[in-house]
Symmetry: D2
Subunit: 299 residues, 4 copies
């Protein structure tokens, strides 16, 4: 049963069959932009949008995102990649070329809190998230019927301290080999280093943030007691350091002394869902490059 009919909308992936995006990171040096744009021009591509950023002109890192149209992209992409590798080698580039019409495949992990999942599904259904939601994984069954009402496969994989390794193995199986990004939509389990290694800079997490940060449990209670005037949320790539990975997006909202702990949590939920959805959108649109523990977001 699928209550929610995805409406017919013109998303970018449908509109632009011949569009591609190229992401490049490399040590800075003269001639990089010239080499890339010359290469693309030579192959008949038209650059639609291009962003560059150099972290430090002398001996720093260079980052580039190019969006281009190439007639018959589908047929010519492999050849293009092969030929570009010569350019890439010369400049010691880390690089990728993405076909815009090839939708990214998402896996969403969720526990019991639904606000982030609901937002992602709504944006997806509204055509604002140009991706395919391949499956939802949860250590609880609370969201099962809701997820399935969208026609999306739901996998219940319980996790306990004892079964953690087996549970992650099971997660890898249901995810399969063809997932572009995993979204922890309030998934309340710590991910093991070996799982993270499988999906380096491909797991996005969301968590609450405060000025100042509060260590220890019950951060909202602490924020209330300290009378903070602003609360926020941070979306980041998951690394081995808990909540310490590269920040993708942050946002905040003003609060006052009269907001009690429950109201702070309610506001926090609203920020979390907006911030996570933005981070996912930027990942899907190939707008994010990671260097060391920092993102470069071209948006």
């Amino acid at each position: 049963m699928e209550l929610h009919v995805k409406r017919d909308h013109s998303s970018s992936s449908h509109q632009y069959p011949n569009r591609a995006r190229m992401l490049i990171s490399c040590p800075d040096g003269p001639g990089i932009v010239a080499a890339v744009s010359h290469f693309l021009h030579q192959h008949g591509a038209n650059i639609v949008q291009s962003d560059q950023y150099t972290m430090d002109p002398d001996g720093g890192m260079f980052f580039m995102r190019v969006e281009f149209d190439l007639p018959k992209l589908g047929e010519r992409l492999e050849e293009l990649r092969t030929q570009f590798s010569t350019v890439a080698e010369k400049f010691k580039m880390d690089w990728q070329i993405f076909q815009v019409s090839h939708k990214k495949r998402l896996a969403i992990f969720v526990s019991k809190e639904d606000h982030c999942l609901v937002e992602l599904l709504w944006q997806w259904q509204a055509g604002d998230l140009d991706a395919e939601i391949a499956l939802v994984v949860s250590n609880h069954t609370d969201m099962q019927s809701y997820v399935e009402s969208f026609g999306i496969p739901f996998h219940h994989i319980p996790v306990t301290a004892e079964t953690k390794a087996a549970a992650e193995q099971r997660q890898l199986e249901v995810i399969g080999g063809d997932i572009d990004v995993i979204i922890l939509a309030r998934y309340m389990q710590i991910i093991s280093p070996s799982f993270i290694e499988h999906f380096r800079h491909k797991i996005i997490n969301i968590h609450h943030s405060f000025l100042p940060a509060f260590v220890g449990g019950k951060p909202y209670a602490q924020a209330y007691q300290r009378g903070v005037k602003i609360i926020g949320a941070t979306a980041h790539y998951v690394t081995e350091e808990l909540d310490g990975g590269p920040i993708i997006e942050q946002d905040v909202q003003r609060v006052s002394h009269s907001d009690d702990v429950n109201e702070l949590k309610r506001i926090g939920r609203t920020i979390e869902r907006v911030v996570l959805a933005r981070a996912v959108k930027w990942h899907i649109e190939d707008r994010i490059l990671v260097h060391n523990n920092k993102t470069v977001v071209f948006n």
Copy 2:
């Protein structure tokens, strides 16, 4: 020489010779608002604005700010205070009554960075800070001629590790007995507990804030390396815990990967001056009550 002529403006302290503000904190219980408003009505006062907040209805704390007009306030204020003490005793109130036409006297402490001082002087000159700037104290002479051009006394009191106690003694002397609030406008010296004790909840400090917070030195460099998307500032009352006092106000601004450390600092300065000026304004207008380590701000 006074280059800067304070313009003739109608500030609230001039406009309302008969206006007073009352601040009350006490354990919550039935009949407080009734008792206060009955008392004021009985004495011929008209309540112009009134704010209350109860931290927790059962056994919590009650906070109240009342702004009222009383004919011939100047003559009758002492009597009013004497008579109110009976009401106050009954409810175990901490309370104060301020005459709006009595301008608060400010002492500003500054080191070398001028952005917060300049903002305060500009707002004061523009008539937006309804107070008297009694003096400026600095451990450097950089700002001397600028401050004196406003006709404001400037006291240069150097501070070293050895002379700290003597320097604070000297500060107390130049401040004298009639200062309502001390503003640390980027004053880069730690205040001793005994000095703080003299001015409990009367010293306002400003410092940068980040999500997440960064411990250790060079926070802007750390923020840059982590790629934060939002930076902010916090104004708070100074307590013995460094940067841990009750928060008065916070604000933030969005930044991006392309803002280098200097640009982050520049943006940080702009937020700091705005946030500090707001905190000072609220203190001057008797809008802040402190309970434990939290402020209640009626604005």
Copy 3:
């Protein structure tokens, strides 16, 4: 069939069976707060929260919102209202007393765009909108199955130029006599003056807003062509002047030259749903007073 099970949460309406809210507007004068708080104290009520605002101290209007607890409120409410009318008459008050445990009943009007409706239903389901959604009315059937999946009655009432009067008559019938507020969640029909008269300051609308405003059709296209840097949305009570009623809430988001018309619309939708939901929440919590064409919002 009800897929969406409303979770068991402790909303304020359940938590506080003895809590009431009083809203008062009257010409300002001495003794109002004293009279109200004395009355409440005399009847055994404990004031939990109280806000006042005087538009202009001399001859202006006075507004007050009091939240109080009264033992056995349910049994005593009618008597309280009767007795308060004496106080009210003396001060020429417009006033109302609401029982918090009596949930407001909402009617939502929608056309084809679903973002505002989805947000309201999600917040309602999450327990963040403490009200009863009595019915949804639409001039289209697009949202029917979605609305009914929540167990909420859906009424399809088509509207054409010819059938408008009959359609509004039909709307009044399905709404019945027991609706507290009507929410136009992107309902793309103009409401007739006679319908508005039935629900004075009880119909909330949402629409896009820009700096500067653009007259004529296609405002997003105009905003794009003019290169605005900020777009927003306004929630307001519906009056006879189109989009000219008292403003309840507004918010904005930053945009740039690179956001095309579709992206501006997408961002606009996100602002609209947030702003409308806040306005509805404040209405439900009896936080809004209207005077002339202006709201006083105690939040």
Copy 4:
């Protein structure tokens, strides 16, 4: 007498003697980026930062900003310009190359309100505005001693309906031929079309903005009466259409019913000075391209 000593700071104009910025607008087409970057590479330039934007891929306009380093830029700039004109002609480019070390020369026009002027002078003095303030022009003398205390020439040129043409003639004389941008920092006179023609897209104005916009006089009074929840300011290039030129920057602040007209004006002033300073900074850094009535801001 110069009270205000401009501190020794490392601004970008000092730091980068060999840096240049190129701005390009032209009809979109294949090979533009390739041609520009190839040209620069060929001449030994290293691209530090590059931004492009295409308004509409099919038959639309293309905009580009390139920041590059070229050894011995000072000696080679004229030759570079000459040689680039061949590239430019081929793509029908409007283009300019700016030497970063060549500071832009500003003329500031002011009337009686000082907040925008004070902000610009403060940011300039703090080293945050990397330009030369060549002169200040005013139709009043209020700001004369303040401006002269910075060592900046001040020209008092009164304007009446009768003397307007002569006054503008006098303004042109004192400005001379070497001014890069004129800033109307609350200059309350309408600029004539012929004066605007002299400085096409080189005059920046600031004015208040509201959602919705209010026509007629006393906009702050109207905003208060309508109870707006957000007020803002817009910086734009001056065109013949009053306040209708290309928008450079906008920002807003939240207000409430309790902010009276004076408070709204005070908040408005704070937004105006921040927004104007940002617009000036972006102009100085060659970040703004204008097409039709819209800006493309690369920041």
